[in-house]
Symmetry: C2
Subunit: 432 residues, 2 copies
Amino acid sequence: MKQSQLFTKTSKQIPSGETSRNAQLLIQAGFVQKELAGAYVYFPLGLRVLNKVNTVIREEMNAAGGQELFMTALQDKGIWEASGRWSDDVVDNWFKTSLKSGAELGLAFTHEEPLAKHLKQFVSSYKDLPFSVYQIQVKYRNELRAKAGLLRGREFYMKDLYSFSKDKEEHEVFYEKMKDVYMRVFDRLGLGDKTYITISNGGSFSKYSYEFQTICEAGEDVIYVLDEKERLAINKDDVNAETLKDFGVEVDIESLQSFKSIEVGDIYSLGTKFSEPADLMYTGEDGKKHPVYMGSYGMSPTRLLGTIVEAMADDKGMVWPKDVAPFTVHLLSLSSKDEAVQGRIDSVSTEIYDELTSAGVEVLWDDRDISPGAKFGDSDLIGIPLRLVVSSKTLEQDSVEWKERHLDAMDMLNVDAVIEKVKSFASEGAVA
Amino acid sequence: MKQSQLFTKTSKQIPSGETSRNAQLLIQAGFVQKELAGAYVYFPLGLRVLNKVNTVIREEMNAAGGQELFMTALQDKGIWEASGRWSDDVVDNWFKTSLKSGAELGLAFTHEEPLAKHLKQFVSSYKDLPFSVYQIQVKYRNELRAKAGLLRGREFYMKDLYSFSKDKEEHEVFYEKMKDVYMRVFDRLGLGDKTYITISNGGSFSKYSYEFQTICEAGEDVIYVLDEKERLAINKDDVNAETLKDFGVEVDIESLQSFKSIEVGDIYSLGTKFSEPADLMYTGEDGKKHPVYMGSYGMSPTRLLGTIVEAMADDKGMVWPKDVAPFTVHLLSLSSKDEAVQGRIDSVSTEIYDELTSAGVEVLWDDRDISPGAKFGDSDLIGIPLRLVVSSKTLEQDSVEWKERHLDAMDMLNVDAVIEKVKSFASEGAVA
């Protein structure tokens, strides 16, 4: 895409009222804008990143056998009363509204209840189990405060997967598998090195659950790393001798090192907590009725997007991993006052742009008539993995300047060689 | 996908409380389920169709130069008060809710106001215009009644595009172009033959606007066709001598034929109605400030999905056009009690399934151990464009049965020939 056509612009001004680095950078670069605290508009560059995060997640959920569906935000209160989660005293972050008839509705903050209700029609025998379903959908949570940019939203994207098994044993197999599936997602998003499978309390459903925590100064959580090789950690809130013993970890609590971290996912064993009130039962091989054993597996694409910004940005701007970058290549054509030189800059840039885009490489071409300094500044702020510069200076050497956003080194490459090299750069795996 | 893995099942029972044919068929086939009147859950088959409808729309909006973004549903009341659309006396279908602080919020039924507000930061000069943006996003409308299945939703998908031009003249060029863009979308969705560009009153913003109306018995509107070749019609509510004269149409109103129809899109000239209260101004070549001239262009993917069902279904079930079908091929393997024959059925089916899926053809393989009658019934109900049957009878002739859903004719094709023929069937354009 030609940058002159993009309707957004960058801004040098730090947006007022934004204290989080992720929102500041994303707004300054024109990726998002705040509608209200905890609810952001995604402009084209931001939406491109969000869609790529969603694609990575979708591919891994599909590979794990998840079947995608899409639930509604609007919810009747009946099923939530049955599970005990309608009252504001129990769930303190409902957004509620009502129909013209006066009937109360809620905006879903999660979907265990409606899902258990709807699956009843499809589950009757043990032969119908196990399976898992997921959605990537907007969730609403009426948070008292929402000051962390994309890290804590009132309206935000969630990937929520739910598993349905015959019993605890069958459930555990899937639950264990999902730990690996989650870590593969974080690897592909460039967060693998910083992310730990973190022991946490299980809420009201089971004794323990796992969170996935990414080490980052902007995090609201604190974890202790227990086993670097196994990528195992424990939430500070839950560390005690009994828990460590339950997990067979022999360490001196005093010796553990703590890190601030962002919770980027969580997986819960739900047991029959939601299947029983919804009457989600199956007939077993024994001919008897049993409640379905459920699990839920959450991860927020928008929080992940904010986490990537927080974890990777440097003092010049954002640094996107290749798999989720809005574009793979940022092509900067610097203007020349010499008409003949400008003609050469134009023709070389056009050739690079046309050949790469027709080869399926995503290129943002800064074809605007602004100063080189402004182009370099924008490029660092936007954070596209590979920057190519075409200027009078590079063309004197019949070359194009090559610089990867996360490295300091620059290279001069022959015009003829650069296109092939970019193609192989684009097809290589993600840079962590 | 193997049908034995799909967690949804078809149902012979007409769902209670659903009077519309589209919701009845979609629920019976396991594509959707009702959460509450006007709000439907999309199961895998339904979501696949919805995603394909969205893809067709997205491709055409991108080709027209639209830049995709994604707005929030949650809305502060301030900007809506400024435009005069906050009061329930003016807009009677708001869903409203509130923050913990007590501040009132609305769930967006459209997005002119927030968009005009956010674009202010990017528009300063005439050089920034024209451009257009769009989103495919969930809208909320608190309809008093919602009984038409997917045709009238309280929570539904909308594609809304907004254009920003310097003046009326520049706007008109884009507005005219969008008529063709819309008709191309309806063509690709298989509705082109039945859809008319329909003169309507312009609401509060301009004298006239255009609706797009698809002739269908389930429709709530009535249109008169004015010019078959130009695909021009007029809404019955707006037909009068003056309007016909304004459009240069010379016909006898009494002689016009009326049809029931579904409104599948509308395009409005908004003028400066929303840019002025939002202070969305630009400096012209004359050095003076001018308000931006806006247009809005709506179309609901979920209503389109319902319309396709209504317009194409026959007495056996749904009939999907190829571009939006959940799968292109429905492969039915009929069971045999003869073990050797069953082995042959399995191996031929597996070969067809594997070769087609690896060639990128989307195949739903009914590998379930149920009666042939049940398989044929499900296949007609689900409505996949091409049905292939492998059975003892077809294999006696070393053949596979070929039947397209919208045709009565059946064919027997040699096992070796069928795969290549399916590949070319899949790559051909949509069947209207």
